[in-house]
């Protein structure tokens, strides 16, 4: 799941630059689950904006909508009337949703209300922790289900560095050393062979440091089917 955190109100208001009619847009997907951008949080942001405007003596008109997801056109197409009636849209979706909104409603300022932070899991009451960085070459089969890319400070792929210390990372004593965790997990499974093998470096061009990535499922993409004959079906590819 994509995890995001709310931006300070001050930044949101600064970006709004005094616009009088604002559409606050929650998202019913990941940001609802991580308690940052669901309908309730959208209501609370709207409430903040109205109150802040009142304090400042510059009333604004704020409406709230929360589509099922902002990362699908079909859902955001339903917002047309509300978007057109507003001077600006403040979106509580992750950067994916904000960009798609901005693309669909080209002439409307679509402003982010959250910082999209990571892909992670619920790790305790009200807490989410990063687990995946989307490197595009998953090694979890070999690392005992612990991702060295996301969880090692250096994203090392060939074992712990010299900074590992009693299971903790040299960056901070609060951070577990991913490689220590990998070792423990593999030992528990009784198979340390991966640690003995040498691995090729990752192709970082496949990861977030590369260019924009696209996924095509040919079975539901007519265009891809036509290209399917040319041998390009169902693959992640760089454009």
């Amino acid at each position: 799941m994509i995890v995001a955190e709310r931006k300070p109100l001050e930044e949101i208001r600064r970006n709004l630059a005094g616009r009088k009619k604002v559409l606050v847009l929650g998202c019913g997907g990941c940001v609802t689950v991580c308690l940052t951008g669901g309908e309730r949080q959208a209501d609370m942001l709207a409430s903040q904006l109205r109150t802040a405007a009142k304090v400042a003596g510059e009333p604004v008109e704020v409406t709230v909508r929360t589509p099922t997801r902002q990362c699908d056109r079909e859902f955001i197409d339903t917002l047309k009337a509300d978007v057109e009636a507003a001077d600006a849209v403040v979106s509580l979706a992750c950067g994916v949703g904000v960009q798609l909104m901005a693309e669909v409603y080209e002439t409307k300022p679509v402003l982010p209300a959250v910082n999209t932070t990571f892909m992670g899991a619920h790790s305790g009451p009200g807490t989410w922790t990063e687990n995946c960085r989307g490197c595009g070459q998953c090694v979890l089969a070999e690392t005992g289900g612990v991702c060295p890319v996301a969880r090692c400070a250096k994203s090392l792929i060939n074992g712990a560095c010299g900074g590992t210390n009693k299971g903790k990372c040299e960056v901070s004593r609060d951070i577990d050393c991913a490689w220590y965790l990998i070792y423990k997990r593999l030992k528990a499974r009784g198979d340390l062979s991966f640690l003995r093998a040498e691995r090729e470096p990752l192709d970082w061009g496949m990861s977030s440091s590369g260019t924009r990535r696209t996924l095509v499922h040919a079975e539901v993409n007519d265009q891809a089917h036509r290209r399917g004959a040319e041998g390009a079906e169902g693959a992640a590819e760089r454009k």
Binding site: P8, L9, T32, R40, S47, Q48, T51, A52, V55, T66
Partner: protein, 714 residues
């Protein structure tokens, strides 16, 4: 029982109506013969809104005073609190609101009555109920009774120590005040016949004559002086009283009437009172609590005795002889006593009272088109409440057999519906489709619930009460009643999940103090397990959980109403507090000690319902300050509310300060909700702090820690 689900669209259609809260019933309501909305009136009592509670009762039960004392309270038998500690004292609470003096008085409005005249024969609970229902529907009912006052057997057969006459009279007066004409001292069937009613223009007749004749037994000696029948005995005790000083009395029978007779005999001065019944202790039909009270007063109960003869000396009772009972009910559970004629017991006594059952006096139908069967019972169609004559209906014990007052009332309701359909030219259909009742509490849930001792009804000690006919149960005090009403668990008031909004985020599951929600594709919150705290509804990030009893807009509407009641020019404070635990009556509007600040309370069913968004809304809506008053630590009926509320308060506080609201405009006080002095101090403190700043909105400041009542008093 699976959780309840709706789409947002369906919810939008139903919001604000009773449809959601009526989807399922609490077991108390399902068990009540008249389906009184127990949960609703207990909640009103908890909030100190006693008169409104009484109105809820009166909608379906015109005898709140009488039933508040003598009802056999099946609601309490079914109360889900039985699985936690003890049932809520529903009957005692009914009595509390019924006997209270209201400053506004007991005003009743007479409905517009332009429809047909209907005659009701018999002014007992069923007849008066039927008449009242018909009056409310616009008919003109007249109730005929041969007695000198209304109330039927409640007046002549229920002893005054259980039901004071003036209490019953007040119930009857209220019925009359709502458009029922009462004609007393008229015997229908004597000089005045059933057909006379028809010729006088009554378009329908309801026979509600009850079971007014006591049965005797054709055993030797039954005609001796000193042999009495239960109903005349009880009626006489009520007026003059035969005087039984020092005498030994044997009551034959084991039912509730027999217990009434025995306890009445004690009060008439009998030296020794023994009840002899066929049944053993387990089989005996009288209510256990009444048997217990009788025993406290010195009544001895002898079991498995079948009356053989009354022993007579010089024409007067000298004793009673009994044969042993070997079996009361046969293999099919039918009443079919068997005796051992060789095992005899003799009880010496001066008086024998037969309390073995009643029968109807059907003189009024003799020679009419209203037929009785060969066993002397009215020919009656239960499905239409109709007798053999198309325009004559019947209700109450004459057709149901012996039962309790509230059952007679239920029967009266049915007869009134039948008459209404008949006179409207409709086919008679008394079928009712009632909402399903929720299941029993799961043991795991019961274990998590906060226990609370049931209010004890203060009573006159047995030694003292047995000397007179004074009411021996003294009634609950206001404080005890409100505390007791708070023990209601608000069953079936739980949530609906909006299927199109739920993101299956698991928040409900994670915050529920009872671990009730199951999340599969979406959340599934069992209405039988849910305790209705609403913590999940206030936390759900998708606004996908709506409570049946207090919807998502309820807080906002209350805030709007509160602000609208205050002068918009000055500082307006909104105070969020628990209506369930800190009722308006305790620290409300007109107390002279209240600070002269423009402040208004918003009462919530529990502070668990107050969300951070609600707090923020108050400012948006124009409040100059918000005070959150929490109850004393550990007093909430729901676990974890204190923690949740503090966190929501902190969240709202941060978001509001971020929006430029000065921190002194927000306060949380723990322990102040149910403490008038602390509540008033909280109001004064905020007013002082806010006005100390320059007028209007203050600049941003340092967030102050929320104060507790204790800190403040230092």
């Amino acid at each position: 029982m699976p959780g309840r689900q709706l789409t947002s669209e369906e919810y939008a259609r139903l919001a604000g109506s009773d449809a959601l809260i009526e989807t399922e019933w609490a077991p108390c309501r399902a068990a009540c013969p008249v389906h009184a909305d127990v949960r609703a009136y207990l909640d009103l009592i908890a909030r100190g809104r006693f008169r409104e509670a009484l109105d809820v009762i009166r909608e379906v039960l015109p005898f709140p005073g009488a039933c508040g004392r003598i009802c056999h309270h099946p609601c309490e038998q079914e109360c889900r609190r039985n699985d936690v500690d003890q049932p809520a004292a529903i009957r005692d609470l009914k009595r509390f609101v019924a006997e209270r003096d209201y400053p506004e008085g007991q005003k009743f409005e007479k409905p517009l009555q332009e429809r047909d005249k209907v005659a009701v024969v018999g002014a007992g609970p069923s007849g008066l109920t039927a008449a009242l229902d018909l009056a409310r529907l616009g008919y003109r009912p007249t109730v005929f009774d041969r007695g000198e006052a209304g109330g039927g057997l409640l007046r002549t057969a229920v002893p005054a120590y259980r039901l004071p006459r003036k209490v019953l009279a007040a119930d009857v007066d209220a019925i009359v005040a709502q458009g029922v004409e009462l004609r007393l001292n008229v015997e229908v069937g004597g000089a005045f016949q059933l057909d006379d009613l028809r010729s006088q223009g009554f378009k329908a007749v309801v026979i509600a004559v009850g079971l007014s004749k006591s049965r005797g037994l054709p055993i030797p000696g039954a005609d001796a002086a000193g042999v009495e029948l239960a109903l005349p005995f009880l009626a006489a005790a009520d007026s003059a009283g035969p005087g039984l000083a020092g005498k030994s009395v044997v009551v034959i029978g084991g039912g509730n009437v027999a217990v009434d007779v025995a306890r009445t005999a004690v009060r008439l001065g009998a030296g020794r009172v023994q009840m002899a019944c066929l049944e053993n202790e387990k089989e005996q039909p009288a209510w256990s609590w009444e048997r217990h009270e009788a025993a406290e007063e010195g009544v001895a109960t002898l079991h498995r005795l079948g009356p053989k003869q009354v022993l007579v000396r010089d024409g007067r009772v000298a004793g009673a002889e009994f044969k042993a009972v070997t079996e009361v009910f046969d293999g099919n559970g039918r009443f079919n006593p068997k005796y051992d004629e060789n095992r005899l017991t003799t009880l010496d006594c001066d008086v024998v009272v037969f309390a073995i059952g009643q029968e109807a006096d059907l003189a009024l139908v003799k020679g009419t088109d209203v037929k009785a069967d060969e066993r002397g019972r009215l020919v009656f169609d239960r499905s239409t409440s109709r007798t053999s004559a198309a325009d004559v209906f019947a209700c109450g014990e004459v057709v149901t057999g012996p039962g309790s007052a509230v059952e007679a009332v239920a029967s009266g309701h049915r007869a009134a519906r039948a008459v209404h359909q008949f006179l409207s030219g409709l086919p008679i259909d008394l079928g009712e489709s009632l909402p399903p009742k929720i299941d029993k509490l799961a043991p795991a849930t019961a274990q998590r619930l906060v226990k609370a001792a049931r209010a004890e009804m203060p009573a006159v000690p047995a030694a003292e009460r047995k000397a007179n006919f004074g009411q021996f149960e003294l009634g609950l005090s206001e404080a005890a009643a409100m505390k007791e009403a708070r023990r209601c668990m608000s069953c079936a008031s739980g949530p609906f999940v909006l299927t199109d909004k739920c993101a299956a985020c698991l928040t409900c599951r994670r915050v529920c103090p009872f671990e009730i929600p199951e999340v599969k594709e979406i959340a599934d919150i069992s209405s039988a397990l849910c305790q209705g705290c609403g913590i999940c509804a206030a936390e759900c990030p998708a606004n996908a959980i709506v409570m049946a009893g207090y919807g998502p807009d309820a807080v906002r509407k209350s805030v709007d109403a509160a602000l609208a009641s205050l002068d918009p020019k000055g500082l307006r404070l909104v105070i969020f507090t628990c209506g369930h635990h800190a009722p308006a009556a305790r620290w409300g509007g007109s107390d002279p000690a209240r600070p002269a600040v423009s402040a208004k309370e918003v009462f919530l069913p529990s502070m668990s319902r107050l969300s951070a968004a609600d707090i923020m809304y108050a400012f948006e809506a124009g409040a100059g300050g918000v005070i959150v008053l929490e109850c004393e630590s550990g007093t909430c009926r729901y676990p974890t509310v204190e923690l949740r509320l503090r966190k929501r308060y902190e969240q709202a506080r941060q978001l509001l300060i971020e929006a430029g609201v000065a921190p002194e405009r927000l306060a949380l006080h723990v322990g102040a909700a149910d403490n008038q002095e602390a509540a008033f101090a909280a109001i004064a403190l905020m007013a002082e702090r806010v006005t100390r700043r320059a007028q209007g909105w203050a600049p941003r400041g340092q967030a102050a820690k929320p104060q507790t009542a204790e800190e403040k008093s230092k």
